[in-house]
C-alpha cells in the first residue's frame, strides 16, 4: 500500500467518492480513498437515492438544487449511466399545520427557482391516479425532482476519480489517526500506515468513531433506517410519494419495482445495527396498501437496512475541525446525504484546495452547535 498521501479520504461511499473526484478534477494529486469494505457497501448503496429540492430551509434547497443541476449531466460527465429518472416528488399533507409549513416551503422554493407548487387532493390524484385520498388534504409537487441508481452513481464517482489518478483501497479499515499539536501526522490502517496532513472524514454512519480516533468530538449519532422493494410490476405511477406526518416515502422505479421506507426515530435502534425486522415490513406494507390499494397483490422481494448519520439539526456538518488542522468533515447528512453529494463533494474540494467555497457553507460548520445557531430542517422523514 501507498506510504504517503496528500489527502486521505476515509469512507468510500458517495460522499468520499464525490470528494475524491472533485479534488482530482481540480488538479489535486496523490489522493487516497480508504474503504473498510467495498464501494457502496455503506448507506450509499442502501438508500432510496431520491433527489428532492423541496425543503424547509434555504440551505438545503440551494444545495439540493445545485446537486440536481449536476445530476442532469452527470452520466456524461462521469461516462457511466446513473439512470437519472426525473419523475418528481409528490409530498402529501394530512394536517393543517403541514399545509401551512408547505405554503412557506413552496414560497421559499419558488424564490430559489425551484419548480414546486401546492396541489389539491384532486390535483394529486391527477398526477397519481391510483392514490387513495383518505385523510389527504393537499400537498406539494415538484416535477423536476427525481432519483438515480445509487449504486451506479457511487461506482461512477469512484471510477472517474481513479481515472484522474486517485487511489481506491477496498477492505482497508482506518483504526487510528495520529496527531500532534493540533495537526495530523498519519492514519493507521489494517494494511499499514499512511503519512498525511489532510484527512477527510466521510465515514457515514461511522463518522463519529472516526472523529474519536482523531481525538475530536463530533455531535452525531447513527440510527437504523429500513427499506424494501417489490417485484417489478406494470407502470402505475412515477413520482416519489412522501409524507412527513404519516411518515413514508415510496416510488415505482423505472424497472417497475416499488421501493420505499419510513423513518421511526422513536423505535429504531441507535448504533450500527443494520438487521432487518418484520415489524418494519408489516408497517411499511400497511402504509403502501393504504395509500395505493392496488398494491395489495404485489409481492415484496427484498428488504434491508442502512444507517442515517444524524446531526442535532438534521443538517450536514461540513468543513474543517477548529481544533484539528487538516481534519475535514463531510458527515451528519441525516438521511439526505445521497442527493447532496454532487454539491458537497465539490464544495469540500474547493475548501481544501482554495480555502473558500462557491456556495457559502460556513453556517454548516461544527461550531454552530456551540453558538446555538442550529438550522432546523422541518421537512424530513
Amino acid at each position: 500500500m501507498i506510504k504517503r498521501a496528500d489527502i486521505v479520504i476515509i469512507g468510500g461511499g458517495v460522499q468520499g467518492c464525490s470528494i475524491a473526484y472533485n479534488l482530482a478534477k481540480k488538479g489535486a494529486k496523490n489522493i487516497v480513498i480508504l474503504e473498510k469494505n467495498t464501494c457502496a457497501s455503506g448507506s450509499s448503496g442502501r438508500c432510496g437515492a431520491g433527489i428532492r429540492q423541496q425543503f424547509g430551509t434555504k440551505m438545503n434547497c440551494m444545495l439540493a438544487r445545485e446537486s440536481m443541476k449536476t445530476f442532469e449531466t452527470l452520466s456524461e460527465e462521469l461516462d457511466y449511466d446513473i439512470e437519472l429518472n426525473r419523475a418528481g416528488y409528490l409530498i402529501l399533507a394530512y394536517t393543517e399545520k403541514e399545509i401551512n409549513q408547505f405554503k412557506k416551503n413552496v414560497l421559499l422554493e419558488q424564490s430559489l427557482d425551484i419548480d414546486a407548487k401546492m396541489v389539491t387532493p384532486e390535483e394529486a390524484k391527477e398526477i397519481v391516479s391510483c392514490l387513495n385520498l383518505e385523510g389527504i388534504i393537499g400537498g406539494t409537487f415538484c416535477s423536476t425532482d427525481g432519483n438515480v441508481n445509487p449504486l451506479y452513481t457511487t461506482f461512477a464517482y469512484a471510477e472517474a476519480a481513479q481515472r484522474l489518478g486517485a487511489k481506491y483501497y477496498p477492505f482497508t479499515e482506518v483504526t487510528e489517526i495520529k496527531t500532534e499539536d493540533g495537526r495530523i501526522l498519519s492514519v493507521i490502517t489494517n494494511k499499514g500506515e499512511i503519512l498525511t496532513s489532510i484527512v477527510v472524514d466521510a465515514a457515514g454512519g461511522y463518522s463519529g468513531p472516526v472523529g474519536k480516533m482523531a481525538g475530536v468530538d463530533i455531535p452525531v449519532y447513527s440510527q437504523r433506517h429500513q427499506i424494501l422493494v417489490t417485484e417489478p410490476i406494470e407502470p402505475l405511477w412515477k413520482p416519489m410519494l412522501m409524507s412527513f406526518s404519516e411518515n413514508y416515502y415510496f416510488q415505482q422505479l423505472p424497472d417497475g419495482g416499488i421501493l420505499g421506507g419510513f423513518g421511526d426515530p422513536e423505535h429504531e435502534i441507535k448504533g450500527d445495527n443494520i438487521n432487518s425486522t418484520w415489524q418494519f415490513s408489516r408497517t411499511m406494507a400497511k402504509k403502501m396498501v393504504k395509500l395505493v390499494p392496488i398494491l395489495n397483490e404485489v409481492h415484496m422481494v427484498r428488504q434491508w437496512a442502512g444507517l442515517y448519520n444524524m446531526s442535532p439539526d438534521s443538517q450536514p456538518i461540513l468543513g474543517e475541525h477548529p481544533k484539528l488542522k487538516g481534519f475535514y468533515m463531510s458527515l451528519g447528512f441525516s438521511g439526505h446525504g445521497f442527493m447532496l453529494a454532487p454539491t458537497t463533494g465539490k464544495l469540500i474540494a474547493e475548501l481544501i484546495l482554495d480555502g473558500k467555497t462557491s456556495i457559502p457553507i460556513d453556517k454548516l460548520d461544527i461550531g454552530r452547535f456551540k453558538r446555538g445557531e442550529l438550522i432546523i430542517e422541518p421537512s424530513v422523514v
Binding site: 417489478p232 403502501m288 398494491l295 422481494v301
Partner: protein, 90 residues
C-alpha cells in the same frame, strides 16, 4: 461461456457483463451484484449466485469456499404486501 449467455434470468444479466465487472477488478459477489444487478430480481439469486461464485473463484484462482457469499436478504420467498399488511400478531 459465451458473452451472450444469460446468467441471471430475473434481471437479464449476461456473462459478458459479469466478465467485464471481473476484469475491472470487482471480484466479490456483493460488488458484482451491485454493478450488474445479478441476483437482485424476483428469485434473489437462487440460481445465478452459485454460477457467479464459481466464476469469481476461477477468475481469482481461488477455491470456491474462499469467495465470500453475498448477504441473504429477507424474505426468502416473495410475500404479498396485502398479506404482510394484514398480519398483526407480534
Amino acid at each position: 461461456m459465451k458473452d451472450e449467455t444469460i446468467i441471471c434470468r430475473c434481471e437479464d444479466v449476461t456473462w459478458g457483463e459479469i466478465r467485464q465487472a471481473l476484469e475491472k477488478g470487482y471480484t466479490t459477489l456483493d460488488e458484482i451484484k451491485r454493478i450488474t444487478r445479478a441476483g437482485m430480481g424476483r428469485c434473489q439469486g437462487k440460481t445465478c449466485r452459485r454460477i457467479i461464485l464459481r466464476e469469481i473463484a476461477k477468475f481469482c484462482h481461488k477455491d470456491i469456499e474462499e469467495v465470500a457469499m453475498s448477504t441473504f436478504r429477507p424474505p426468502t420467498k416473495p410475500v404479498k404486501l396485502g398479506t404482510l399488511a394484514g398480519d398483526d400478531d407480534d
